[in-house]
Symmetry: D2
Subunit: 271 residues, 4 copies
Amino acid sequence: MIIEELLFKPPNALVDQSLHSHMGVETTNGDGFGLGWYGGGEGPAVYKSIAPAWGDPNLRELAAHVEAPLFLAHVRATTGTAIQQTNCHPFRHGNWLFVHNGVVNGYHELRRDLMLAVDPSLFPGIEGSTDSEVVFNLALTFGLDDDPIGAVERAIGFVEATAERHGIENAVQASIGLSDGERVWAFRYSTERTSRTLFSSCDALAIRELHPENERLQRLQDEDRVVVSEPLADLPGVWESIEESTVLVVQPGPDEHHPFRPQAPAHATAV
Amino acid sequence: MIIEELLFKPPNALVDQSLHSHMGVETTNGDGFGLGWYGGGEGPAVYKSIAPAWGDPNLRELAAHVEAPLFLAHVRATTGTAIQQTNCHPFRHGNWLFVHNGVVNGYHELRRDLMLAVDPSLFPGIEGSTDSEVVFNLALTFGLDDDPIGAVERAIGFVEATAERHGIENAVQASIGLSDGERVWAFRYSTERTSRTLFSSCDALAIRELHPENERLQRLQDEDRVVVSEPLADLPGVWESIEESTVLVVQPGPDEHHPFRPQAPAHATAV
Amino acid sequence: MIIEELLFKPPNALVDQSLHSHMGVETTNGDGFGLGWYGGGEGPAVYKSIAPAWGDPNLRELAAHVEAPLFLAHVRATTGTAIQQTNCHPFRHGNWLFVHNGVVNGYHELRRDLMLAVDPSLFPGIEGSTDSEVVFNLALTFGLDDDPIGAVERAIGFVEATAERHGIENAVQASIGLSDGERVWAFRYSTERTSRTLFSSCDALAIRELHPENERLQRLQDEDRVVVSEPLADLPGVWESIEESTVLVVQPGPDEHHPFRPQAPAHATAV
Amino acid sequence: MIIEELLFKPPNALVDQSLHSHMGVETTNGDGFGLGWYGGGEGPAVYKSIAPAWGDPNLRELAAHVEAPLFLAHVRATTGTAIQQTNCHPFRHGNWLFVHNGVVNGYHELRRDLMLAVDPSLFPGIEGSTDSEVVFNLALTFGLDDDPIGAVERAIGFVEATAERHGIENAVQASIGLSDGERVWAFRYSTERTSRTLFSSCDALAIRELHPENERLQRLQDEDRVVVSEPLADLPGVWESIEESTVLVVQPGPDEHHPFRPQAPAHATAV
């Protein structure tokens, strides 16, 4: 699918959300953006810019000319760290792409402890200064390759345990998108159980039948799935909210829903 | 005065307006900005960036360290032309600085006719692609140095006459700030007489007496004057609206109010 | 072909030339760059940046992941006009892409006359301030769609005639690349007949036989052709210089060489 | 002094060195730059950009309009870390400004160990990913406020000891400029004693007498001193090389030369 079909053309497309988010914590997400996709060449490609998504002509070009069966896009509203490409999502490691809508509260205070828990072989690869990149590296440290859901549970659990030691409440807001090119994991979680919104499109077959007049929806393939912070259009029966403290796995064949229960890894809590 | 006193510190400072404008036509003005000031060195200095004003660390630095008795600042929401430094205001020519909050309607269609009317000696100096820069160059062409108000009247009048020839209605929205380093002209005008907001601070002495508890206001000198698209704070008695189709001249000694009546110059309308 | 095979991997790849050009007039070409390609979506895609090509991570990403049978790339050393995306090559109009290595001498003085000769319907689409974009628009004005070589001859001829009227010598340096997605035209020309270097790769079959040990060269398809300002590697028998005042047409089937003889169009010289 | 007098106007000014360095390890230093100065407002101001210094219009503006009795400027050629403002020098902490021409060899491998030795209260303030910023934070950790030369000796000594533990040779190239707004320390050092060039201007009185025809030199005040990686002009008697393994202290009253002998702090080497 040409990426602009989702990124630019719907009524409340992500690029519009960069300028006027309706459901987000920040109404403007103009502190850079990123687009990662699986397509030609080896591994995923990433395009990042510190320009607001709404005004970047290159994003418009790429979206109009790059076809990809799977992509992740992110618009950023900084919670304090610098506006620079290395702080833009998605973060990448090998075939993994990772985007985060949320925040680690008290990150300034926690940063050192969190970074120390990152595997020393991964440490030099941390290029930016965001909480999100460190959470991703913690998940890599705690076994992302073998057990993606468990690894993210351990990463978030470790952040929560560290925050607790520092007396910081409501440690994490973590709506997270993760992909290895085959599957997409969509996590919706927050320590205080008031997580940022996250929606998934329903079964493509059902959507096409519900909206026979909508050309864009008719182009959806049976396995196509769109996961978004905000519905791209106000269409009845198209979007379902991902539940609190769960993770949706979009994959070839039937998708899956799992509970998401962060827990610090035994060996790391003592740091 | 250190520039940040006005640009960053008030409750509704210009930099906040870049993110959330309350009275502007555009709620987000994140398509670059500019700051021009009269200080050290020869002529005015200009700092421009395509980053949103709210996120540019250099602007914060300059505002915190540059003192200037007179400065103009502008946050941009493009009406279609490219986001690039040469399209950021203020525009400069010799000692003149020029900022424009508004638009020339149908500019795409009018651009060639308007540029042809610019004096050939000025033409090569047009670096960007905005309507604003061309309006400024028309004012320079029509005698800005000798008769600033008349020159802007002729420039706007010429745009209106050209638009009329093309069948374009409501030709111009033109809240304009202009300075030669000694005086500031604040124009509030639109062809349809529904001009964008423009406010001026009242007499500094009166303001200080009204708000004895406000430290920032107490630092105002007798001749200080602040002209803004939106009041920087909701303080009774501090701001007065500049009237439709008038121009305020802030200058040493008593300031002046004049009517503003655009009229195309006789020799130019035949182009 | 994945674009990085030509843009990054050869010993003297274009990205290296951005840092250290050996044969160019400018040894550093760090004032932005652009990449245009024909691939997915409608018409050609263009990626432009004001960062030096050698340091732009997005260019590296695109080159590693975008496949395109035909692309044009350009690294810029400004001859005085602003460093901004709208001044980066390639310029695009419909299916056309246009890159220019060269300069219009005395452009500051000639700019107005040249822009006036651009078709009024094209005029508003001129977004930047370079000589190159105006030359491209002159070629479009003078019939590029129907007669590409003739149109460029008329555009360059018009520039030369205008320069002569202004008493400017050596009007044009014009090594130009042009494509409509099917064919590529490579012009090598200058008013004073000391044109900037321009090379074409030889017949792919011959190259593969000459260098059986070179993997990259073995991947060349029979119709593949590379046109460059400087050879990408010092390989005997691979590169041939395009002759002064000629144009090479790379196309399906046998390529063609034609003389290039600029001549101002009759109807335009009187402006 | 208006900053452009040193930054732009001399024959081999720093901005020219960004494009064509004659004595530097890198001939092009186009990966961003920074300017820090002591002037209006509280503490030093810093302007940083990822654009090459030679093409940044804002730098030209600031240099032409900002007067400062003391400033530090730096042009960057990355040794591998990202091109972003947070990686540009000078780095700042309180009143300190710090610039580094050099490299920590094997930094990728050493980064974690070096960052762990930074005082935990300073750790969260590390915004970029360079070796230079970490060296500066080590110096702050090891007592910069009380004993500037000793603190830098301990910081470099610690890096050398850490490198030795990792089997990395020639640990550090460290031509360093440091200022607190009153004094400037100019360190010339490298582990292998083949340090990058560093020059200081001679006594201003002597220079003025030597070159009575040179207007710029006649404007030098008695206490003025210029420290540079490369002489700004080829003028006999004006420049003297700072010796290997020494530090020059420029200050009110007579300047001082001291030996520079890195030594790891006792309490830190065991990490």
